[in-house]
Symmetry: D3
Subunit: 139 residues, 6 copies
């Protein structure tokens, strides 16, 4: 299958409401390199996603199974930093903040505007949050 189709497919599958998508490189008989497309979705999206993949790709079949998931609750909060107010995604475990990460899309805009490496922006913001949270985090 033409590799260019993936970004298109990803967009369409995410629009239906898939929780996550990824690909893995696999190797089939007769020395055929191939790509395994994996989609995580709620059960009620299943048939719509299967139909989409059957129509848009060259595959002749799709396998699926029910998995259990353990996920962290998430909340996005605006935090004041030296670059302005930034959205931070906080993840909770048993009611306490376990981890957090600045929203990448916002960091990218700042990196562009301030002409700084994205890594620097990301790190500076992370450290601002780190300072706020010192006393709250699960340790």
């Amino acid at each position: 299958m033409n590799g260019e189709i993936y970004s298109y497919l990803y967009e369409k599958i995410l629009k239906i409401g898939a929780l996550d998508i990824y690909t893995q490189s696999i190797y089939m008989k007769k020395n055929r390199p191939a790509v395994k497309l994996c989609v995580i979705c709620e059960e009620e999206k299943l048939s719509e996603i299967i139909e989409l993949i059957l129509k848009e790709t060259t595959t002749l079949g799709i396998r699926y199974n029910k998995f259990l998931r353990e996920t962290l609750d998430r909340k996005i909060v605006k935090i004041k930093t030296k670059y302005g107010n930034i959205s931070i995604k906080f993840a909770y475990y048993k009611g306490k903040i376990l981890k957090y990460s600045p929203e990448y899309e916002e960091c990218k805009v700042i990196a562009e505007n301030f002409k700084l490496p994205l890594k620097t922006v990301y790190e500076d913001i992370t450290c601002t949050v780190n300072k706020y949270l010192e006393s709250f985090r699960i340790k």
Copy 2:
């Protein structure tokens, strides 16, 4: 495990009646690169395939699970092309042709005989089928 064993193993597993086989590169503890062999088969072939893999490979265990599958019906039809009659695999979705592909093995023979790139042969035949089907395909 010696990499040369795979083509032998593939043949034997397919002969038992597996639906599909592929490998994935994985990385284990202590920096060990390894290969994960994945076999898709009907339940009644399971024990024979497990026995074969345990005997032929170095593995000490095999994991398996039941998966659901959504597959397209397929039919192979001979279509007349400028290279002669070629087998085309048609795949159906809800009773209508959804996709099709020329049989590779036949295309290879033609590419050799006509001294053409296999890609050209494949494309020419695909376009012949495309023309026939224009009015029938699900759109």
Copy 3:
């Protein structure tokens, strides 16, 4: 390094004028999965790209080498199809058309507008070009 940085990095490297970029999964000592970023560029872009990568990523060093390349000449031509005029990229070998492909971005718009699988649009356009070229292609 945070995986989210790659799309940002790709954009910036392509903006400088790199010819191509790709990543490969590698495995380092102490069971560390890592990503090798490979950039193909003309020599005069080298120092700018090196500086960018050193600044934006966590790497402590970059290796490079001169490679020879054999590339096909390309020309983009508008071809009339049932979906309208579409840009087709033709690639030439020793002055003759060797291959061609419709521009994906245009195919995507058509797929959306006509509510067709992208694969179908791509195939239909390819077959239109195939018909035009039958007599010209190197065979």
Copy 4:
């Protein structure tokens, strides 16, 4: 996630009692290379391992499922070789020895002491065991 964390994580997960761990390279949306961590464990270790992974990594969720396993019984026996007594892991299928392998850690010590390639030591010991077993192995 910083790749250096894996060896640490592997150790901690194995200490809890996981049966096996491996990683796979995957590719996510927005060109993000990522690593999928797979752990095989008995059900009673599940919640402890999930908690560890949620705390130690950047992941926001873990998927799991019950798999069936077919494993070979194993027994470690000391065998006399020209390098001294070495532990050999024997694997049994339906009560008979099906395969065996010398313990790598012991082979490494011998390779160092005898200044031999590890491959040579491993092969010599394998052949010593091969000779012993000629009459017993399932064939």
Copy 5:
């Protein structure tokens, strides 16, 4: 590119006289999984192989470079084993046998005829050679 083309391509490239071929999974911009085809060949085969790859694949360009190689001399010798006379490939370093391996194709035939695991046949033959060579190998 259709994955089925690889076995065909491998055969044709090897027939021209390439020393080795392999593929690597890579990831390109816009979430495109791709396959990098690597060919090792003597300089005088270069242009023929480049022409073949340009004609048979969808690639628009090929990169190449001169590498130095350090290879072991090899000699194939028939050795008498309990399965009959088998071809063994011996590899020499500074005039002495450094390693050896039975020819896989012959081992496959034996495995089929004797209804033994290929692994067992391979191991038995390796141990027969091991016994012969005990006194000659570099250690």
Copy 6:
């Protein structure tokens, strides 16, 4: 080749003085998954490393080439943090600090002693350094 040999090989190659080592998964003819071992070293270590790899592995040949490298100067400095004095590796570009990272081995010991996630320790120390450097870093 038995995957268990890699950690042994890595150690031996690093002891000779290689600058870096990594592996890549590749796929060879006849459906053989394989591992490509890549070593970066100064020219004067080349022959010793080649000899080691030829002796310890099943390979019949090694390819090598001269690459240019652009690396950052590094200095390790002890920085006072709430977990005690920690070694921080600073990397310089044109005389200015460009990036830095705490030494993983020290962070691991702290994570164990303080019963904290390694990620938390690493982040806390990074933020301590971030605070010190705010005014010095290239931005």
